[in-house]
Symmetry: C2
Subunit: 356 residues, 2 copies
Amino acid sequence: MKIIRRPTRVIYVGNVPVGGNNPIVIQSMTKANPSNFKAILEEINNLIDAGCELVRVAIPDSKSLEVFHSLVREVEIPLIADIHFNWKLAIAAIEAGASGIRINPGNIGGINKFREILKNLTQAKQVALRIGINAGSLEKELLLKYKHPQAKALVESAILYSNIAEEAGFLNYKISLKSSDVLTTIKAYRMISALTSAPLHLGITEAGSELSGIVKSSIGIGSLLLEGIGDTIRVSLSAPSKEEVSVAKEILRSLHLYNKGVEVISCPTCGRCEYDLFSIVKKIKELTSNINTPYLKVAIMGCVVNGPGEASEADIGVAGGKGKGVLFKKGKIIRTITTEEIIPVIMEEINRHSVK
Amino acid sequence: MKIIRRPTRVIYVGNVPVGGNNPIVIQSMTKANPSNFKAILEEINNLIDAGCELVRVAIPDSKSLEVFHSLVREVEIPLIADIHFNWKLAIAAIEAGASGIRINPGNIGGINKFREILKNLTQAKQVALRIGINAGSLEKELLLKYKHPQAKALVESAILYSNIAEEAGFLNYKISLKSSDVLTTIKAYRMISALTSAPLHLGITEAGSELSGIVKSSIGIGSLLLEGIGDTIRVSLSAPSKEEVSVAKEILRSLHLYNKGVEVISCPTCGRCEYDLFSIVKKIKELTSNINTPYLKVAIMGCVVNGPGEASEADIGVAGGKGKGVLFKKGKIIRTITTEEIIPVIMEEINRHSVK
């Protein structure tokens, strides 16, 4: 089974293409104080190391705008300015060198303010706009009409502002429709996907604590990607931003949409496992987290029940037993190794295949 | 949006109904040494506390069979015996009081051995069978035919053994089709769902390290549940079994299929958040993890941007700021509280609504 992506047009966030047949772009947002240049820069660099391709930074005031202006000059990937309430900050962010701005129609001050921003966007070069609808801050008119921030209301808001952008001749925009409710989110994206050719930014907002955030984002983003919907994703977690990128990578990897780095599969273990599989898996994941090319599938299996069968599907695999294990490569048994040899032998094989 | 479940017939694993309109059952499997009665009993009791409704235990030998026999007498929920290779152990497990047995057609020794097990099952009362197909241990004939453990091969194996069960007059069975590949798993369950009325047990096998296991299980199990497929679920993680149950609960809760306990939503925070939201969310999750009734939605929000709007959707909510926050109940502002008051005030409200 292969995912067939729904066609969208290509936009550019700085030099990063989003939409069409381009790989799905991973993005995140900084959590450090946006007035603290050093802290934000460090966070962005950590995000880049983790594999993040676009970073969004909140700009709530003029101090953070100054910091943003400096960041744009330091950071190698495109930065997106996150703007609420103050349309003038959006224009200032474009002038400061933002590669994209995120506007929330529900709080930017109405259609005329939005048109002012569009004027500046059409004059700028490769600055993208995200029309970022959020169930928690929908326009009052739509909340009155629909009573509740249901999927239809999110879609109506997005289409209204998309039409205004298109009338102004501005097409370099994408859309997001976020809700903390997975089912509402899925329904809203399915609806908008049939109504627009703009690329879609996927995410579940206010996703909760770390575990529930991972689960909600995986189901919401994952099932939409499975339907071919989505061109860029952001996982929101109540956790350090770097973890958002790890989860995003795992989501894409699960669906064969991220063919970089090392995928480690392992068994959950049962009463049959006679060695410490968990710590070996953890160690190999740690040692391989920064390898981004090429794609390799590594299997660490607990016993003979599914071990050899499953591991034979992997590029490299070990089916462990008491004190020793069997090493496989591309379905062929290479040799028996001791439990102590598992990590060094697997890492040696991985390094032989990897480009640094 | 509401999930419409595909109709399946109801089977019984001991006194637990699976399939039809019954709530989706959460199950897990023990990881302790199955010969160690005390360790397994402790693990099962932890699983029950976490909300697990069915527990599977590996029975690789006669020592573990003895332990299983004793466990059946001690444990209040139905126990399932996990059998590989040895059909006689399956029959002995039924005699020892198993409420269900899991058989892997790929390694049980062929159709005649399977028929022997069925004879014993038809004579037992409310003992269920799981025909548990696994991509890593498919029958040799099917691997030769399909070259690769693809979805079609998993389905063919399941249908073959289902037909044998039905011919023997045994209908109290469910089916699982596990693979470590999310797309193969989804495809296989979609196919079998159109071919059988037996309840389906969902899971992704060898799901990898903790994070990738959570992500893969959430996408695989979650997207199938979203399509109405699945009657019982097991999350497989290379982590303690109790965590498998927490993830299973989060998956069901995200899809409105688990209406028990306290759901805590929170925002991912951005540069605007002026208090330590993460630790407050973590603490409230900890304090509420054992509350199982009734259902309450609690929102812990970082700031005024989406806070009040989103929190008004929750039964109880706080939108925090510098040193203080606003308390909501069912959409109405109750009062302003200090940051220090957030946890005690929220817990007081939760306890007022909860049945212990």
